[in-house]
């Protein structure tokens, strides 16, 4: 049995993700068009995009696995390795930096005992940096999964960290 067949025997995509991908496909004249939305469905469900999931997406979109891999690695938002359960992504571009995003990142690093780019050893938190997130009027800000936390201060950041389990 080849490695590819072995993978098909042990699917990693939950059935609802497969269904969501299948629902995207008819909206494009070519199946590959559903790539971006499909990968979002995968990442939302699994937190990241493992190789085996890429192989399954490739099969659903009828492309070669390498075509999925090159998309995953090109786009900063797609993760080919796991991050913390709560992934805090700070905007570091100009409008946020002018209002103290670096101090917030440093505070967060100190509080969690990790550097930007790392994950806590219990896998609970990770810190990342992003370029402008289109929220400059409410700077400084961070993105946590599907949500923006805006007009941040050290106090608000502490409250946010306290509220996450």
């Amino acid at each position: 049995m080849s490695a590819a067949e072995a993978r098909v025997l042990a699917p990693v995509l939950p059935p609802e993700v497969v269904a969501a991908i299948e629902a995207e496909i008819p909206n494009y004249p070519v199946k590959k068009g559903a790539m971006m939305n499909s990968l979002h469905h995968v990442q939302k469900a699994l937190g990241w995009i493992p190789r085996d999931a890429m192989v399954e997406v490739a099969a659903l979109l009828e492309v070669r696995p390498i075509e999925v891999l090159e998309v995953v690695t090109f786009y900063p938002m797609f993760r080919d390795r796991p991050v913390g359960r709560h992934h805090l992504e700070f905007c570091r571009n100009l409008s946020c930096a002018l209002l103290g995003s670096r101090q917030l990142i440093r505070h967060c690093e100190k509080r969690l005992g990790i550097r930007s780019g790392e994950t806590t050893s219990d896998g609970k938190f990770s810190i990342g940096e992003a370029e402008c997130l289109g929220s400059c009027g409410t700077a400084p800000m961070l993105m946590l999964e599907d949500h923006f936390h805006e007009n941040l201060t050290v106090e608000k950041l502490d409250q946010l960290l306290d509220s996450l389990d």
């Binding site: 068009g33 971006m36 090109f74 900063p76 571009n93 409008s95 209002l99 289109g134 949500h147």
Partner: protein, 426 residues
């Protein structure tokens, strides 16, 4: 009954619910135009209005629509640019969050005018909530029969699909965007062929920004003259200016094009925070060359800003007070372009990386005067030599800081340290 807004509803209000948008007469403009006007008439109104693209380049919208070849019965597309990733820019998000149906109505009208069979909206991946809001609005519009089968009249279907990006600035460039919608890496295509000849899936395509398209219902409803009644002769209408940085009231302000930067900063945004003085302004997103404080009586329109060697870009005004180190500001911006270069063109890939390294070195107090010449050369080498305009943008941004605040670069070199102790950190 309140009237429909030009772009955004009155402050605090949200027209995302279909019933609210329709209660103000929403979608009536599209329904009437599709029933009573020819597609060419809609294009003519938009052309007469003088509307210019709000995505950054300011190209005349009606003229762009006429580049589409005659319909041949096969697929033709709109690519709607909701990537909003030019640093400093947060205006399209207001439309997506508070008035998504106006964008959908604009797409219906535009699609009718250019005989499009479908529109693909490309929204940046980080805009999760705006995406959910837009998707809900679109589902409601489909359910009400406004979009989909027969939307452009008997037997003429018009579909709208949303594709989510995933954090790559280059996908805001129109051909990078099309690659991404097709499910590929967002690397820009060589032009020609232009999108109107061969765009999405090699079919004729017109790319427009969210705000550009959202102006169309107003223009078709109120007429070209109403649109031209405000704004400047060469760039009529209103736009959504976004102000951020060291101001008291950062935010978006929907205003006639051509207000001065002084009015924006002091009258609308409440002036500089913490009682500080203004030092510098970037008037149109991070690609726009920086201006010194003495230039703020300039009108924020494309022609007036060109006279002071900058651009209106996305109308995103970034304000910096007198604590701000301009080398650090340049470094923040150059790090961004280095990070976002897609790597296809040598001048861009190497140029953005090299520029970033040299500016970083100067900020660290380790630069030499020779480094300034290197930067001058890099700025020249990146401009106008590449597949897409990202390298030009990187060149204008760095070139602006070098030209306008050269003395600060020299001070860093001579004092071998950053002399701005109170400045923000990149």
């Amino acid at each position: 009954m309140s009237a429909l807004p030009w772009l955004l509803p009155e402050s605090g209000l949200d027209l995302s619910a279909l019933a609210d948008y329709r209660a103000r007469g929403g979608y009536q403009t599209a329904l009437d135009a599709i029933r009573t006007k020819k597609p060419e008439e809609v294009t003519a109104i938009v052309k007469d209005s003088g509307l210019r693209g709000r995505g950054g380049a300011g190209f005349p919208t009606g003229l762009k629509w006429t580049f589409m070849p005659p319909p041949d019965g096969k697929a033709r597309y709109i690519a709607c640019n909701a990537d909003e990733s030019e640093p400093g820019t947060f205006k399209d998000r207001q439309i997506l969050e508070r008035n998504p149906h106006q964008l959908i109505e604009g797409l219906l009208l535009m699609g009718y005018a250019i005989h499009a069979t479908a529109a693909h909206i490309y929204i940046r991946g980080e805009f999760a909530q705006p995406y959910y809001n837009l998707k809900r609005a679109l589902d409601d519009a489909y359910a009400a029969g406004l979009v989909g089968a027969g939307a452009h009249g008997e037997g003429r279907d018009f579909h709208i699909q949303i594709t989510r990006g995933a954090g790559a600035y280059i996908c805001g460039e129109e051909t990078g965007l099309m690659e991404s919608v097709e499910g590929k890496k967002g690397q820009p295509r060589k032009k020609p062929p232009f999108p109107a000849q061969a765009g999405l899936w090699a079919r004729p395509t017109t790319v427009n920004n969210v705000e550009t398209i959202s102006h169309v219902p107003f223009i078709v409803r109120e007429g070209a003259a109403a649109f031209r009644a405000v704004g400047t002769e060469k760039c009529p209408g209103k736009t959504i200016y976004g102000i951020s940085g060291h101001v008291v009231r950062p935010g978006t302000y929907e205003l006639p094009i051509g207000v001065t930067l002084r009015e924006l900063i002091y009258d609308y945004a409440g002036g500089i925070r913490n009682g500080r003085q203004l030092k510098a302004v970037i008037p149109g997103g991070s690609s726009a060359p920086v201006l010194t404080a003495d230039k703020i009586d300039v009108k924020a329109d494309p022609e007036s800003l060109r006279e002071v060697k900058s651009v209106l870009g996305t109308g995103a005004v970034i304000v910096m007070d007198d604590t701000t180190c301009m080398v650090r500001a340049a470094m923040t911006v150059s790090r961004f372009y280095r990070h976002e270069s897609c790597g296809q063109c040598t001048q861009c890939r190497e140029g953005t990386g090299w520029t970033d390294r040299v500016i970083k070195r100067i900020e660290a107090g380790e630069g030499t005067l020779k480094d300034l010449e290197v930067l001058d050369d890099l700025v020249r080498a990146m401009d106008g030599q590449t597949i897409c305009a990202l390298a030009d943008a990187a060149s204008w941004a760095a070139g602006g800081f070098l030209r306008v605040f050269r003395d600060e670069f020299v001070r860093h070199i001579e004092e071998k340290r950053c002399p701005f102790d109170e400045s923000f950190e990149p």
